[in-house]
Symmetry: C2
Subunit: 341 residues, 2 copies
C-alpha cells in the first residue's frame, strides 16, 4: 500500500508586518503512524485567529514562539483516524492545537472530545464554542463584570469574539456599542444581533461617535484592537471602568515599537482597571461557558457566523483577512471533508 | 481692634510645564469671621503633593480643577481658632483640604480631628499618617496584593509614599527593589529602610538593573511616575502581575500629549492587572491603615522623614522640589507656629 501523504505549512521566516505566503513553506511527507498511547487525527477545520500572528513573533509572550521549520501552530477540529490511546477511538471528533497540517500525531495532551450534536454543523464548534465562546464569556464576565444599565463598548465587534461579547452584554442588560470596519458589519451587529449602536471606524470619527452613543460614559470596554480606538475609549471611561485587553490586533503587524495609549492617564484619574486576558488560562472552566452559550443559542438569543476558506493551501493568504478586516464571521479553513457524520 | 490679615496664594494662570511663581498671586484680605455652623482654622502645616499639579490642569480628572482666582487647593493641618460648630472646638487639631492660606473658613466637611499624641510631632500626621500612609497602605495591599516571596518594585522610592510602600512590602515578606533619583536616596532606602536593592534612574540603566535585581521577575509594581520606568517594568513582569498606578509624575508637567507605555502589550501577554488608585476614594477606611501604621512605627518597623519649607510665601517655589526630586522626605510647608502644644 502506498503511504498516504501529509500536507503541511511550516514556518519559513518570521513575518515582518502582514504575513506573506513566503513566510511559510509547503511541505509534504508521509502520514505518520501512531505508536503506543498515540493518536492520529485528520484535521477537518483549522481556526485562523489574530493571536496566531503573535505566535510567530520572537518575543516574550504567553506561549513559546513557533520555531522556524516547525509546523505552524493552529487550533483544529478533526476526526480520530487511528488510536492507540485508551481515551480516544477511531471516529471521535476532537479539538486541539494540532497545527496547519492535514494529519497530526498526538499523545492526547490538550485534546478535547466534542459532542456530536447532529443539529450543529461541525464548524460551529470553532465559531461559537471552541475557544471563541469562552473567550467572549470569561473575558467579558470575569474582567468586564458588566451590570445591567451599564454601557459596554466592544471593538472588532463583528468579529467572532466581539459579536458574542456584544450579544452577551445585551443578555446582561447593558447598553452595547460596537466598533467595526464596514457598514455591512455595522448593519449586521445592530440589525441582526441587537447592538444598540455601531460605529464604522474607517468612515466615522470614533471619539465623537462614542461620545454620542455613550451619553452616560463607558463602564466596560472589551478591547480586541488597542491603538487609537483604545485611546478614544479611555477618554470617555467612567470612574471604576473595567477594560479587558483581549487582543491588540492594530499592532500585531507593527514593525516599529508602538506607543501605548496617550490617554493612559485616564486609568489613574478614573481609577480604572485594565486587565489582560488569554483564554488558554481558563481551559478547565470551558464547560461553564458552553452550558450558558448552548442555552442562549437554543433560546435564539445569540447568533454567530463563519467565513470558511476552502483548502489548507489557502491558509497563509487567508489569515490576512483578519488584519484587513475582510472576513465576515469566524475565519476557518476547511482542511478536509467531514465525510460520514 | 484691627482686623487680622489672611495671607493666601491664589491661582493666577494654568501652569505650562513646571509651576512658576507667577502662576500664583499673593493675596491678603481680612481673616473671615465664622458664621453659624462654621469653623475658623489657622493652618500650621501645608502638604505639597505631586497630585497638586493635576489639580490646576484644565482636564477631566477625579476632582474639579482649581479655578483661576481661587485659593490654591492643598491639604493642611491646623488648629481651630473659633468654632460655631458642635463637633469642633477651639484648640482642636484638624486636617482637611483647607488650601494655600493661613486662615480657612469651613463648615467641617471633610475635616478630621487628629489625636494629640505628645510623642508625635505634628508634621508626622502629614508625613506618615494624613493621606500618605493610607495611600501606601491601600494602594499596595488592595491593588498590589503582595504575597511573601514575591518581588515588589516601587518608583519614587524615597518619596513619602514610595518609602512607606517599600517598608510595608518588607513587612509582608517581599523582595523590594526601589527606584530613586540620587545616590543619597538609594542609600537611605537600602541602608536605613531595609529595601533589598535600589536603582538610581538618573545614573544607571533601569531596565538592565531591574533585570539583575529582580531575578524572578516582577510580581507587583507600585507606580508613582509612569513613563520610561513603567515601560522598563512592563518588560519584566510575571504572569498575573499587579500594577498600582498611584501617580504619573513624569508626565504631570508635560505640555505635549504623552504616549502610554510602549510595552503596553505585556499587559495582555502576561495577563497583568493595571489599576488606578486615588486615595480620596478610601477616606472612610483610614483608621484601618492608621492602626497598622501606628503599630509598625511603635515596633520600629517603619521610618519616615519630612522636608519642611519655612513660610507660606515659599510654597510656589518649593513645590517644584517634588518634580525635580530634590526633596528629602514628605514635602511640607510650615505656614504658622504650632504654639502651645
Amino acid at each position: 500500500m502506498e503511504a498516504k501523504i501529509n500536507r503541511q505549512w511550516r514556518l519559513a521566516a518570521r513575518p515582518m508586518g502582514l504575513i506573506k505566503e513566503s513566510d511559510f513553506k509547503w511541505h509534504e511527507e508521509p502520514v505518520p503512524i501512531p505508536g503506543d498511547d498515540e493518536i492520529l487525527v485528520r484535521n477537518i477545520y483549522l481556526s485562523l485567529d489574530p493571536a496566531n500572528r503573535g505566535w510567530v513573533r520572537e518575543a516574550k509572550s504567553y506561549i513559546t514562539p513557533v520555531a522556524i521549520g516547525e509546523v505552524m501552530r493552529g487550533i483544529t477540529i478533526g476526526v480520530v483516524e487511528q488510536s492507540h490511546h485508551g481515551a480516544f477511538q477511531a471516529g471521535d471528533i476532537v479539538q486541539g492545537i494540532l497545527g496547519w497540517q492535514e494529519y497530526a500525531l498526538t499523545d492526547g495532551t490538550g485534546l478535547t472530545q466534542l459532542p456530536r450534536d447532529p443539529s450543529l454543523p461541525l464548524a460551529a464548534y470553532l465559531g461559537l464554542f471552541g475557544i471563541i465562546g469562552p473567550t467572549a464569556y470569561f473575558g467579558l464576565l470575569d474582567i468586564g463584570k458588566p451590570k445591567a444599565g451599564e454601557t459596554l463598548v466592544v471593538s472588532a465587534a463583528a468579529g467572532a469574539v466581539g459579536s458574542l461579547v456584544g450579544q452577551i452584554g445585551k443578555i446582561k442588560g447593558c447598553r452595547v456599542v460596537g466598533i467595526a470596519g464596514t457598514d455591512e458589519k455595522c448593519h449586521w451587529i445592530t440589525e441582526e444581533l441587537g447592538f444598540d449602536a455601531a460605529i464604522n471606524y474607517k468612515t466615522e470619527p470614533v471619539h465623537e461617535r462614542l461620545r454620542t452613543h455613550c451619553p452616560n460614559g463607558i463602564d466596560v470596554y472589551f478591547d480586541n484592537v488597542g491603538g487609537e480606538i483604545l485611546d478614544a475609549v479611555l477618554s470617555l471611561i467612567n470612574v471604576r471602568a473595567r477594560i479587558a485587553i483581549c487582543g491588540l490586533i492594530s499592532q500585531y503587524n507593527a514593525v516599529e515599537p508602538v506607543p501605548g495609549p496617550y490617554n493612559f492617564r485616564s486609568i489613574l484619574t478614573q481609577r480604572a482597571r485594565v486587565e489582560g486576558f488569554i483564554i488558554l488560562d481558563h481551559m478547565g472552566r470551558f464547560q461553564e461557558a458552553y452550558e450558558d452559550l448552548g442555552n442562549w443559542m437554543a433560546e435564539g438569543k445569540i447568533q454567530y457566523r463563519v467565513d470558511i476558506i476552502d483548502g489548507l493551501e489557502n491558509a497563509p493568504r487567508g489569515i490576512n483577512k483578519l488584519f484587513e478586516g475582510t472576513n465576515k464571521g469566524k475565519l476557518i479553513v476547511k482542511v478536509s471533508e467531514e465525510q460520514s457524520f
